[in-house]
């Protein structure tokens, strides 16, 4: 256990390794195509889907505009209902708080509800360092944890795994973590799920403390909400005596009416279901029923940094549905690990730079470039985040952060040279005449249709010609043609 994304190579390098993993490619293509089709089907059923998206964006924006007030309301409501509220500036503070609670009760283990926020802060690793085992109870998280693997998707962290791989992980690793998998375990989904159920049931019955995140936190009533499919989350939320929830400060919604909107948008966007099987809500402590000691850790960890960005703050609308991952053609081919974060895909490519800032970490700086700007993500985002627009803005932020570097990158020099060459029609015309001379040479071979094409260029042109032919320059540019004949062309009878 304890693998982290720290120290992984930047996206372009990591992506090459992922592309070469044929099992990963097949698993991802199959899984994303399936979820895409399911989502498209259930979204098409909702007549006012576009209105819902606009409303959801408006609610989130209005909440973010007055985030401080809503958080204080949330804190007051939670406190009134017997919840101990903690504030954490960053991952280390949040992890320390959770660890202190576990150790304060003398515990050596906790069970966990699937939670992106606790993955973001590296809670499991931090707890392990203090001698507390954190058991993941979501099926896909369990597969990742037992496999000493890393999550590759927000909703389906083991999306890169096929059933045969999962069987091998269960057979090899379950025994060390608790109840072993049956010796004759097959790769039938029902058998795999049954093995996980028996393995986890022991942990649910034994656990005295659970850790969760929250999909939403309703300020007016101090209610936390977890949306899930398996019911394992509800086991964690109801059985142990102590419950600690780590909640990003952007998860607050003012009222139950607002919550209704998001509960309609999330399942259809996320799992492609009309409604998710389990929606758990809890408002503090109820004597004699469920956890009797309830904590909420409200986490910043870069969120106020993103909030300070005029355009960038819309990234905090995100409800972690992962629809953008499932439609992203880049994600589909490389999977989540290449992004080097628990938040992969299009949303990760903007969220990580906005949370952590750019200019210091090459892996973060590479993320906004991990996209063709095709815009498929923006079409499915249930809260209307302009992901392509923010990708461009974060690219600008990366470039600006490096403007004072003592040694500019080759790319920066090329862009400056390009902008100079294209900055004036006369200079561009001269360049075209020079390339026209090259075009007169009998270079390369005939491409389909007859035009000459180049199959080899020295670096950096080889980045193109490695797999693609490139048309040789034409003898005459459009500019030259226009000044020679264009004024008359087409006026023939």
């Amino acid at each position: 256990m304890g693998r982290t994304f720290v120290g992984m190579p930047p996206f372009p390098v990591a992506a090459q390794a992922a592309l070469a993993d044929t099992t990963l490619r097949r698993n991802l293509a199959h899984a994303t195509a399936t979820i895409r089709a399911k989502r498209a089907g259930v979204v098409a059923e909702v007549e006012d889907w576009e209105d819902l998206r606009v409303q959801a964006a408006a609610v989130k924006d209005a909440t973010l505009d007055h985030l401080g007030e809503h958080l204080l309301t949330l804190e007051a409501s939670l406190t009134a209902r017997g919840v101990r509220v903690h504030w954490a500036r960053d991952a280390a503070e949040a992890c320390r708080l959770v660890g202190d609670i576990a150790l304060g009760h003398g515990l050596e283990e906790v069970v966990k509800v699937k939670s992106m926020t606790t993955a973001e802060i590296g809670l499991n690793e931090a707890l392990a360092e203090r001698g507390v085992a954190a058991w993941e109870t979501d099926l896909a998280e369990l597969i990742v944890q037992l496999g000493e693997d890393l999550p590759s998707h927000i909703l389906v962290p083991a999306i890169h795994r096929g059933r045969a791989e999962i069987r091998e992980i269960f057979r090899a690793r379950m025994a060390a973590a608790g109840r072993p998998a049956p010796a004759d375990l097959s790769d039938e989904p029902a058998e795999l799920a049954a093995a996980a159920r028996l393995h986890l049931r022991e942990k649910f019955l034994r656990a005295r403390m659970a850790v969760s995140g929250a999909n939403f936190a309703v300020a007016e009533s101090g209610t936390l909400v977890v949306v899930e499919s398996e019911g394992n989350g509800r086991m964690c939320l109801t059985l142990p005596e102590v419950l600690v929830s780590v909640v990003g400060i952007e998860k607050v919604v003012p009222t139950w009416e607002d919550l209704d909107l998001f509960l309609r948008l999330l399942p259809r966007s996320s799992t492609g279901e009309r409604m998710n099987p389990y929606t758990s809500t809890w408002s503090g402590v109820t004597p004699g029923d469920g956890p009797q000691e309830v904590h909420v850790v409200l986490l910043d960890n870069g969120r106020t940094r993103a909030l300070a960005e005029r355009e960038g703050r819309q990234v905090l609308r995100c409800i972690r549905c992962s629809a953008c991952l499932n439609v992203c053609p880049v994600y589909e081919r490389v999977g989540g690990h290449a992004y080097g974060s628990v938040y992969p895909g299009p949303i990760g490519a903007i969220l990580n730079p906005l949370l952590h800032g750019v200019g210091s970490d090459p892996a973060t700086d590479a993320l906004p470039y991990a996209s063709t700007l095709c815009g498929a993500c923006a079409q499915v985002c249930p809260v209307g985040i302009d992901i392509p627009g923010l990708l461009v803005r974060e690219r600008v932020a990366v470039v600006d952060a490096h403007r004072r570097d003592p040694r500019p990158k080759a790319e920066a020099l090329a862009m400056r040279a390009g902008a100079w060459g294209l900055g004036d029609a006369r200079r561009m015309g001269l360049a075209e005449r020079a390339s026209g001379l090259v075009g007169r040479l009998p270079l390369g071979r005939r491409m389909p249709g007859g035009r000459r094409g180049l199959s080899w260029l020295p670096f950096p042109g080889s980045r193109w010609t490695g797999a693609r032919d490139l048309p040789a320059p034409p003898r005459e540019s459009f500019r030259q043609w226009w000044s020679r004949t264009g004024r008359d062309e087409g006026h023939r009878p």
Binding site: L373, G418, P448, P460, W464, A467, P471, S477, F478
Partner: protein, 249 residues
């Protein structure tokens, strides 16, 4: 009606047949065509790579070159998208009020080719003839940034003799993505390989799209594969008439 052609830097320098076809097509439809000589590049390669500062002089040049014309036609979804949706960002960066006004003035006068033909000129049958098996790839920026919808398909459907076949998973990106094609060349090629496979599944002889850049990418792959499929810009097909030698513009 007078229309100014924005050749685009790629069209001017590497694919002159595309703006030439645009000129020919529009003249055939009775449009008075201008080609402002001061135009160069809209700045999109810089903007999309994050070099906003470097794009400022290019945006300035573009708005100056096209000042005062009734309408601008761009045979490229992504360059039209750049003028309509990105120049504002560049002008903001420049902090130049006059440039912001000029950008806001140019955007609504700028049309992608299929938009100009269908919405402004009101034609879908442009009198073209192209007796070949053709498939059409809707490029991302024309489809999702501009929202040209089925206009190109309607224009192609009206071409005499054409055998137009639908492309499987047509709406998925080809993987070009501007500098993405070299910064993340491997992913770009992996995406392009799937696009090329779908093109080959159609049995088409010609792949048509509204962006020379995307065609350069998919066409480069098809050429390397010796696939026997050529690429043509929408303008080239629409400019071809029964009088032309088949397929040669």
């Amino acid at each position: 009606m007078r229309v100014a052609v924005m050749a685009t830097c790629l069209g001017d320098a590497l694919f002159p047949e595309v703006p030439r076809a645009t000129v020919r097509l529009l003249r055939r439809l009775g449009v008075e065509v201008e080609v402002p000589p001061e135009q160069t590049c809209c700045g999109q390669p810089m903007v999309n790579t994050g070099y906003l500062e470097e794009a400022v002089p290019l945006v300035r040049r573009t708005v100056e070159a096209f000042a005062g014309v009734d309408a601008v036609v761009v045979p490229s979804g992504s360059c039209a998208g750049s003028v309509r949706h990105q120049h504002r960002l560049v002008a903001q960066r420049a902090g130049d009020g006059a440039l912001q006004e000029a950008v806001a003035d140019l955007a609504p006068r700028t049309y992608e080719l299929s938009e100009l033909l269908v919405d402004v000129l009101g034609v879908t049958d442009v009198g073209a003839s192209f007796p070949h098996r053709v498939t059409y790839h809707p490029t991302c920026h024309s489809l999702r940034m501009l929202g040209v919808g089925d206009r190109p398909w309607r224009l192609l459907s009206a071409v005499a003799g054409i055998d137009l076949v639908a492309l499987p998973q047509a709406g998925e990106c080809c993987g070009f993505g501007g500098t993405f094609a070299v910064k993340n060349a491997e992913v770009s090629v992996a995406m392009g390989a799937d696009k090329a496979r779908h093109v080959r599944e159609t049995g088409a002889e010609v792949l048509v799209a509204g962006d020379a850049s995307c065609l350069m990418h998919v066409g480069g792959l098809l050429s390397r594969q010796r696939a026997g499929v050529r690429t043509m810009h929408l303008a080239e097909v629409l400019a071809t008439t029964a009088d032309d030698a088949a397929g040669v513009v």
